[in-house]
Symmetry: D2
Subunit: 252 residues, 4 copies
């Protein structure tokens, strides 16, 4: 049974879907009004009808929704890129993670989800508005307990040491390679995302100079396929670039 | 300090790298012999030299290595596809997961890693050789404690109920949609991978008939970029198809 | 020197560009009015300024503009797909080509351009409005002399025989495989475009049954890269599907 | 009826196919011996059997075969990239084309095919071995009459002026932008292919400095789909990079 305050994903179709807290204010949609307070007491998988009788299904939010539905004050990391980070780095329940540049808290939500219950994400952000917004997003996603929010522009050193994974998501990643090197455990990985080719090469060369090995750069493309009787085909337009993901492993 | 039996990733370059247990037998490579017993007592990030003086770095294995280095008796799920599953489904520390078709234990390793410490993966496999091999792979990866290995061909029902996530990775996924529906929590997601269009359409239509919603199908492509001074370019050949990933959410 | 009636491509930027006949009526743009009659007497490569002083360059139209700027009453074949057809089929100056389904005349323009001066494109279209529109597009592109426009729904046979290349661009390509076989030279190729997987498989199986060999199916993706100082990156969204191209060669 | 010396494409399957001159020496394959002299007098579309009774079909070569089967002494331009050039530039029967860097004559074959009968391709190559090899390839393809082969390293100027299209396919394309500008008709396009990012950015910036407009950069990907009853899927590995194509139009 869904309780007041539970996070639910209300799904009508690909374009009409919402991430809300059960018991919150009513939601006005082009398919009618959704009485969000009536979700309390229902079960996941049931439908909530609008006043016009259109069903919205009450679903368990996945990481995909938590990431895509953050209130955005910045570019976010997309699930396609987050997925690759989850497999390419040392992320596990209990991991100690440092993140430079919290942005809107999209990746932070994913990291917090998977380092639970014994781990922690130490996030650094120099822009106070971004940090506040990211914190709200993490709170909405029910994951803020596993994040330490620091309003600080790191330049030479992070307070934490012996991190299992460090993510650098700022405009000039190469400026933090040295600081990251000091805080990363030997044999563990650092990741960064670079939207432009110039950022990419500069970041990779900095990693090489600092002795990182197994440096890998990749881009991820996801194409949806629309499966319909007699009319199955890929989508006609797709996202074709977010950024290149860079990974490197610290040696000592 | 690395102890006897610790899993380590020995990395020389993109083609020469190994996943081994510290203290095991020596390894013969084209760059000389690696005395694996000498890893014990060293630290992650240090190098182990072959008898010819070539350094192999002692790195912390990530999920990527655990997946790619399983002993393969079947096709495996690749990290690119596993990454998307991790964001598209309800996977978190403590989750109860069912997997039909363990294959070589590649995805199983990823699921086990992320549902720790309180969760469990219930795996079903009708081929006993595959199951034994997968179990060995999970043991090598240090993740077998979070997996229940069942030598059983499920047809109508899984013994477990109220699963947070169900993965169907068999040749005819549509045959298990009904069983999966019985065992999945309302509002939670099922995933499958279909190498061919015929499997894909049949699986999607079965999900629709059973009332699943938010049915999504996608393919994931990862292209590596080789960053080198004055010679930066994408790799010249890449994997262009593994299978289409299908997701659907149970309604009640 | 540009003469009255010459086809010119007026280019300001990626979003503001027009295909016009020199000497035609003035053109109102958000950058001001272009006096098209003043193009007469200028040279290709020069600029024509709007009444607000914004330059539009007077360029030679390429096939890309002729194709993309047709007045569209139907889906068109895109340059990316046309380019592959030009290399995969027997198209050359003097070729005899049959086209079933003229659509808006996009591919027809490309075929007419390359079979000049001795060849001919025999186009069949059952929809009279489409045919009239396509004819106007070919006339604008200055290529209608090399096309025979037939308002006819072919079912069992084309009047022409011994064609070097046949293109089938209709909703049910498999219905014309037999007719195409009768009209194609031995050892020459047929092409079709199939937007859906169901059309694709049906078309390929029909080709197989009719004894075609070297049957190939492919999709073409083009991604633009934005090269800018310090900010070079691929475009963020791209077309991800038009249709699959099918080719097969007639045996006797 | 096929005559002695006619170019034919002998096709058994995707891996066993040859481009030969009718009447030439016998060909030894893993499916038996092909008596090439017996092709004379047969018709296109018929089969030639090996001494083991395996049929090879006698097909009309398309540009694809002429390009892919050149004797390679260099990297070649692939049909996917040639196709885009054919639509993005001013190529037509009668066109005057300049090519800097003939390589193995792959693109040259395509250009020669489409500028016939009244046009000409003026090719420049500083490496005499490459030039000789390219000439042989063009002769084999029956297209050498439309090409002028020049053993010359152009630095400041091409002898020809008023070209409809110029292709620069050398390692440092930016060094010939100035020469190309002198020889290109106003309003016409230049193309180049750049395998690396460093070449790409340098070439684009040179074009900008020289006043070229409508500068476009793109990459082309072609993925084959294997259509088989009940087993339809894309190929599992594909070419993922040849080079970026750059286009720009001369202004005056």
């Amino acid at each position: 049974m869904i309780k007041e305050g539970d996070l639910v994903f209300l799904y009508c179709d690909e374009k009409r879907n919402y991430l809300v807290r059960a018991g919150g204010p009513s939601l006005h949609t082009d398919k009618g009004v959704l009485a969000i307070k009536e979700i309390v007491g229902k079960s996941f998988g049931q439908a909530l009808e609008t006043n016009l009788g259109i069903p919205f299904f009450i679903l368990k939010p996945t990481l995909h929704e938590m990431v895509m539905k953050v209130n955005r004050q910045t570019q976010i990391l997309y699930p396609k890129d987050i997925g690759i980070i989850l497999t390419q780095a040392n992320i596990f329940p209990g991991a100690k993670v440092i993140e430079a540049g919290i942005g809107s808290g999209a990746l932070t939500s994913a990291l917090a989800n998977f380092i639970r219950p014994g781990g922690k994400v130490y996030s650094y952000e120099r822009n106070e508005d971004f940090l506040k917004n990211a914190k709200k997003n993490l709170e909405k996603n029910g994951l803020s307990d596993w994040v330490e929010f620091n309003h600080l522009e790191v330049t030479s050193e992070f307070p934490q040491k012996e991190a299992d994974f460090i993510m650098i998501d700022i405009g000039s990643p190469w400026e933090l390679i040295d600081a990251a090197h000091k805080s990363l455990k030997g044999g563990c990985r650092l990741a960064s995302i670079c939207p432009t080719y110039e950022q990419l090469t500069k970041t990779v060369f900095s990693l090489e100079e600092k002795g990182f090995v197994n440096i890998e750069t990749m881009e991820v493309l996801v194409r949806k396929i629309l499966v319909r009787r007699g009319k199955t085909r890929p989508e006609q337009r797709m996202p074709s670039h977010t950024g290149w993901l860079v990974f490197g492993t610290k040696t000592i």
